[in-house]
């Protein structure tokens, strides 16, 4: 116990640095996947058959394979097969590769949630819009979109909370997120070696952060109650 108290400040510092990476990956994934998911959703409900077929094939591949393999492919494929290591060996290249894999993966999951949201708005409302002389674009942005957003908040919350924890997968390409930082103390880091507790201590970071995310999403849902 005494040893732990002595190690605490050093460990907290290192874990904070790892958690910054986790948070960066989390926010960039959300920022990228929200719009990209919408684009993919439009693709999969497109009336033009080749577009919808290709989009659905893409969704099948991304959702049908493990994110861990996708990370390995995005990071190692350019160097190993194309002989052009575009990412480089450094931390920033690893982060970019991880961010791309995460954005694409989550966009595919989001797109299916969006699709469900769009289809859940009764078709009668679109017909009414057409009768009133609105364009398709106006109908989507002024009639469908906000109702869709209200309905997809609960399923999207699920994905967001999963994403917080999924970021840990990026350690497979040696992105030094918080679990990597915690495990480093087992091998020796910052003058501490053979310490096991920091790894388990990382769980508190996830727990507290997910608490904050949950509160924020509940707030958002309350706000959305405006559209019944």
């Amino acid at each position: 116990m005494e040893l732990i108290i002595k190690q605490m400040p050093v460990v907290i510092n290192a874990l904070n640095a790892g958690f910054v990476q986790t948070l960066k990956l989390f926010s960039i994934t959300l920022l990228g996947a929200f719009p990209l998911g919408l684009l993919i959703a439009f693709g999969s409900i497109s009336k033009i058959t080749p577009i919808s077929v290709i989009t659905r094939l893409f969704i099948w591949i991304i959702r049908g394979t493990p994110l861990m393999i996708q990370l390995l492919i995005v990071y190692y494929f350019p160097g190993l097969v194309l002989h052009n290591p575009i990412w480089g060996g450094g931390e920033s290249g690893r982060f970019t590769a991880a961010a791309i894999a995460f954005v694409v993966n989550y966009a595919c999951y989001f797109s299916e949630i969006y699709r469900g949201g769009i289809l859940s708005v009764p078709v009668g409302q679109q017909e009414a819009g057409l009768v009133l002389g609105m364009t398709k674009r106006q109908i989507f942005f002024h009639v469908t979109l906000l109702q869709m957003i209200k309905r997809i908040v609960p399923p999207i919350s699920n994905e967001i909370i999963t994403l917080v924890k999924d970021t840990a997968l990026a350690r497979i390409i040696a992105l030094q997120e918080i679990i990597w930082a915690g495990q480093a103390f087992m091998k020796g880091s910052h003058g501490i070696s053979g310490a096991i507790w920091p790894l388990f201590f990382t769980a508190f970071y996830y727990l507290i952060f997910n608490g904050i995310v949950t509160l924020a999403l509940t707030k958002l849902e309350d706000k959305m109650n405006y559209f019944r």
């Binding site: 050093v10 190993l80 002989h83």
Partner: protein, 259 residues
Amino acid sequence: MKKFVSKLVLFAMVLALVCSCAYAETDSEYVKAKGTLVVGITVFQPMDYKNEAGEWLGFDADLAKAFAESLGVKAEFQEIEWNNKILELNGRNIDCVWNGMTLTSEVLASMACSKAYCNNAQVVIVPANVAEKFQSVESVKGLNFAVEHGSAGMEVAQANGFKTTNVQDQATALMEVASGTADAAIIDSLMAAAMVGKGTGYENLTYTVALNSEEYGVGFRKDSDLADKLNAFFDAKYNDGSIQKLAETYKIQAALIKQ
């Protein structure tokens, strides 16, 4: 549809063509052109570790810096996932693996390796309170071992016919013993000296039998000319005594191999 298929075939052929082009320049030309030697490492006291200021030091780290300097480039250290070391090397994300790497048959087959520079042994880790019972190879035969997947420890355990559980790294193998999910672990003796016993998180563990003796080397991409350059560097630094001095700094002089 036919058009689509033919386009697909064309695409595959172009891809195959792109893949088959090999690099034209030699490895040392490549490293000199970009000005950095990227060294793939994991944290491994006393070979590679960070001081409180965040700088890499250790026996391997200091030697790597000196070698890079002799090539006229800067050494850059990149932590890697140990299981992916060959992917990292061949994908040119790193230029060498220099991290107390045991020259196993797998390593020798997939990398261009330098001469051995340091001796090591695989030792058995057991809880300290039962250590007395396990002082010989015979006595540990019936135990359940945790070993790092793909490590020299795993090879040694298999050669002895031990029952093993393969885990991600040596640190995890230690945790298995500490938590009682394995009876014993097999790890590098240099690492064991730094990681178990008083003042560590594994105060209740200790090491007993050495199962083999083995050697550390540095790995480069296959066909790389840097392995020969490093051998020459080792010879020079051994002859002027600077390697011996460095080994004393990190207290591994007993394990050093004469060049």
